[in-house]
Point group: C2
Chain length 280, copies 2
């Protein structure tokens, strides 16, 4: 018993898993990129399916949920936390970073950087949930790095349900996209940040509606790149090149997460466990 504890204690910091949390399945787009870019890293993913969506909720409650999610991941002894939810990144990440020692990143800064690197006419559109857009987090992040860029933001709340219900290639989705996006088209943006992890599922229709000259920015890949850079610079990459586990936890029963999750990961999800997140 003593030996076992000793061996647990002597585990190196870099052998610990990366923690990722999201309001539900959407963050799997980020997880997918992390799996791809960091195939030897252990990952613990928590999807708050018992309380999703975060998009329409208040800042206070999203912050409260985010603290609980972080506490859960810390108890699982992660070395680094990715807030894979745009709404939580936008309204809660600064508070989380102030409160916890562990390094954390969200999806806003990577998306903002990518937009800055992409726009030529310096006019950027941002779409997201009501929570993300009203926080103004993308505009602030973009203009902090490059103050001359004009940012036009719009909430598109129906996109989340359309993506989850598989309404990807339907005429109704196109009509709703035309409704939502026409103010951005008028503003002549050449870059559009998909500020919600669900939106990349609607990429095709969004691209058709915006026109082929408008570049779409998907924060997921940018975020995974930042994770790799951070771990590398801080010598936190896992040394073992063996197969690493991916563990999934949710706050409602796992069935729907597994089913919708396949649409996001494009393959099966292994075992998914339910936890009582209100204990954290």
């Amino acid at each position: 018993m003593t030996l076992l504890i000793k061996s647990t204690l002597s585990h190196k910091e870099n052998d610990k898993p990366i923690g990722i949390f999201d309001s539900g399945v959407g963050g799997l787009t980020v997880a997918k990129q992390v799996f791809r870019l960091l195939p030897h890293e252990k990952v613990i993913y928590f999807g708050d399916t018992g309380r999703y969506p975060y998009g329409p909720r208040s800042q206070q409650i999203v912050a409260k949920f985010s603290f609980q999610n972080t506490n859960f991941l810390l108890k699982e002894k992660v070395k680094f936390i990715v807030v894979a939810c745009n709404t939580a990144s936008a309204v809660a990440l600064p508070q989380l970073q102030k409160h916890y020692q562990i390094p954390m990143i969200g999806v806003i800064d990577p998306g903002a950087k990518a937009a800055i690197g992409t726009t030529k006419n310096r006019r950027v559109g941002v779409i997201g949930t009501v929570g993300t857009i009203s926080s103004d987090a993308y505009r602030k992040a973009i203009q902090k790095l490059s103050s001359g860029i004009k940012v036009f933001s719009l909430p598109c709340p129906l996109f989340v349900s359309l993506a989850e219900e598989g309404y990807i290639d339907k005429k109704a989705t196109r009509l709703i996209a035309e409704d939502y996006l026409s103010p951005l088209i008028k503003k002549d943006v050449d870059t559009l940040v998909l500020g919600c992890t669900h939106y990349p599922l609607l990429k095709k229709v969004l691209s058709q509606v915006m026109g082929e000259d408008v570049r779409l920015i998907d924060s997921a890949e940018e975020t995974a790149k930042e994770v790799r850079i951070f771990l590398e610079v801080n010598k936190l990459l896992r040394e073992s090149k063996g197969k690493a586990y991916h563990k999934f936890y949710v706050s409602d029963v796992p069935d729907k997460f597994m089913q919708v999750g396949r649409r996001f990961l494009k393959n099966r999800i292994g075992k998914v466990r339910r936890i009582d997140i209100n204990r954290y």
Copy 2:
């Protein structure tokens, strides 16, 4: 102090408020009918806006939330509880009724009765959330009372977001309704139960898609009638004919509830207070 306690204790049972809970704003369609049919009754409404929607969640978690909501209303000393959410009525009401002494009704039985009283060709359609439809509660309730009626049920998950986002009169909503409802049209139903408190907001388009011969059943009014009958039979109607309060509680900040609630009540909502529902 002693006098005050004595006076509180001597309050008659029938002077107590009616408690209503729902996953969010949808139950206001029921509250509205209760206000109309029972203008002298005090009402306490709880909308679980911090954890809505219930429709896509599992039976276990909807039951857990419903027990907490009931505990809150009991602490507010209500005399009767209306479960104004179709999903909670479908998956949790039998458990609640087993567990608590207080009389409770849901929206399923009143809707089922109305459907039986309306159908001529004995073919009834039921639409609702995934939770309500997979519980099969409407079919069971209808066939328990009238076994010869054929019931065809369909989940229509996107209708909730469309109603909440004010997508009432749009072509996209019509296209989605046509997609969803075509199997029911083929089944030649002459009565359609709107098995979700949000759906009455889409009545116009639903009626256009189903055709004018199909009668739409809105459980809200039927439920309010049952509440009145129950209170009358059990001598629980409030005796005072003075103005009665309507108190509103929610589990997220009140802003969005007040704003969307106006669409449901067609007038302003007074003070709305936030509570921490996880304490109950």
